[in-house]
Symmetry: C2
């Protein structure tokens, strides 16, 4: 469908005045991989940047089936009804691999999607992991400038995405099901240690007792682990997203976290460190795509990789051969 | 002190015939950062490579005070007395930071150092993390070609070194003290999940009961974690390195591990993957040192980093400015 061309400055004004259609269109520009969109997107972001940053950024992860959508619907509605403006974004590097539901799908959060204070942006399809990562952080800037003061970043707790999301939020929560032991076996290594809170969902009906037991198990495990955030003891809570129980307590906990980390200065310090780490991550990614995207390097890699794996040449030698090809082409 | 100049080919012959003095000298060449040594070292390694690989590579980590030296002395002596030839190498990227004892220090393994079947190489002083890493893997090639059939790679369980060491060994063991809970609090995140065995040391005298209790605690925690190696349940054992108790059982466990992983094909598969991952790690490191070592980039980084942290420019913009400078100088 055709869109009327409007200038970057016009888009910025519309976003700042709360125009959701233009916000969506700007995010599409930000997510675009087309070269001609890059300059416009950068111009828009640079103008929005001074208006961004005034939000609480919350990451939410959990294995498929943990009830992330239902939780975000309940949690988001509670916040919207309190007068907050809530943006839901999704980081899903593997939506095609895992098939099934798309993160941030509006049909999975029907009530929230209809609320005037909510903005739901489904995960961008395609694009590399790093790409999704970069784009999501920039989408956050746009949402914040548009006045959304709570950002919920949803991701699936498999692969690398939760590490990336951890690096762009103030608070990171892990949503789990009952039966800690069984589930942890299948959970990604180290994910517990990224969490500022573990939430046992589906604590309702016949599941309630088991949920309490699971909560105790998680508390015990958390006791042995280093907390994700210095000066904050990672709690294990229960809730029923479906029956909207325990949701208010979770928000109160987040507020407590913000109070504690703002008082200690860690809140701002974390954001500064995250911006810095993001810069280095981006540079590394771009260096690697320049190197491994080089035609000559690409043609040599399979053979050299095989020789290294078969221990026919040393790694130093192999690396040297590839760098010779890279620099030779570059200059 | 002056050394008689001998050719790379002569050094290779001497190493293959078991000359320890020449092996030491070759390792010094390998560890050297001088450009003129690089070519010789590479030539030597390329010749040694076909003779390498026939060893068991064991990584040993633990917090300072866990008794790593005493353990390596007891474990190494047991193997030497069984007729194995044992090389002890150390990866210590932070020896200056942690002060105290130098890993692989011969005076800490007096008996082992005197054994004709043992070769102890202290950790190289200075050099970057990546540098030590790369050099250690190449030193392993030299030791294997020289006939050492058990390599013990010692590292301290803090920082990043244990991840690097995990990526270059067949079996990784974590040496711990009694009192799992207290110690785990101070232990690096995720280190338990890298281990193929947890060894509770100092299980002797009045400490014996506490060691058994600690062993049970670790078993419980390990039950919740994914094993480091597929198809191998990470055990928790006790030993007394000082009184040489439980050491034989640890070696038997390593042999069982080798049997299991060789039968499943994982042993060789792991080594292939490690060689490949090492290649990519090396390339990434060299790309980054080319970029961040560039004079123009170096001069721009502090200002740009500050602007990013103060949210004055977007990360994309900042990265673009640095890449412009890099490519401008390169060509």
């Amino acid at each position: 469908r055709k869109q009327t061309e409007i200038s970057a400055a016009e888009m910025v004004d519309a976003i700042l005045s709360g125009d959701r259609t233009i916000l969506s269109r700007a995010i599409t520009l930000i997510e675009s991989n087309a070269g001609r969109h890059k300059k416009t997107a950068e111009e828009i972001l640079q103008s929005l940047l001074p208006r961004a940053g005034k939000s609480v950024r919350i990451g939410i992860t959990g294995v498929p089936g943990a009830g992330k959508s239902t939780f975000i619907e309940s949690f988001g509605l509670l916040l919207c009804n309190k007068g907050h403006r809530v943006a839901v974004l999704a980081v899903d590097p593997s939506s095609t691999v895992h098939g099934g539901s798309i993160l941030g799908d509006k049909t999975r959060m029907e009530q929230l999607a209809k609320h005037p204070n909510a903005f739901i942006r489904p995960s961008p399809s395609g694009g590399t992991l790093g790409g999704v990562h970069r784009k999501t952080r920039e989408t956050m800037i746009a949402c914040e400038a548009a006045g959304y003061d709570v950002l919920l970043i949803e991701t699936v707790g498999v692969g690398q995405s939760e590490v990336l999301v951890r690096g762009m939020v103030d608070f990171f929560m892990l949503l789990v099901l009952t039966g800690a032991g069984d589930e942890l076996q299948g959970m990604k290594k180290g994910i517990m240690e990224l969490a500022d809170a573990v939430i046992v969902n589906k604590a309702d009906g016949r599941n309630l007792e088991l949920a309490k037991k699971t909560q105790r198990e998680y508390k015990q495990i958390l006791h042995f682990l280093q907390p994700a955030t210095q000066g904050w003891t990672t709690p294990a809570l229960t809730c029923s997203a479906l029956f909207k129980q325990g949701i208010e307590e979770i928000w109160e906990m987040v507020l407590r976290y913000i109070e504690v980390t703002k008082a200690s200065g860690l809140f701002q310090e974390n954001r500064k460190m995250q911006a810095k780490e993001w810069l280095y991550a981006l540079i590394k990614e771009e260096l690697e795509s320049a190197f491994f995207g080089d035609e000559k390097v690409k043609s040599l890699v399979p053979g050299i990789e095989k020789k290294v794996m078969d221990e026919e040449i040393t790694v130093t030698k192999a690396s040297g051969l590839l760098f010779d090809a890279f620099y030779d082409r570059l200059c």
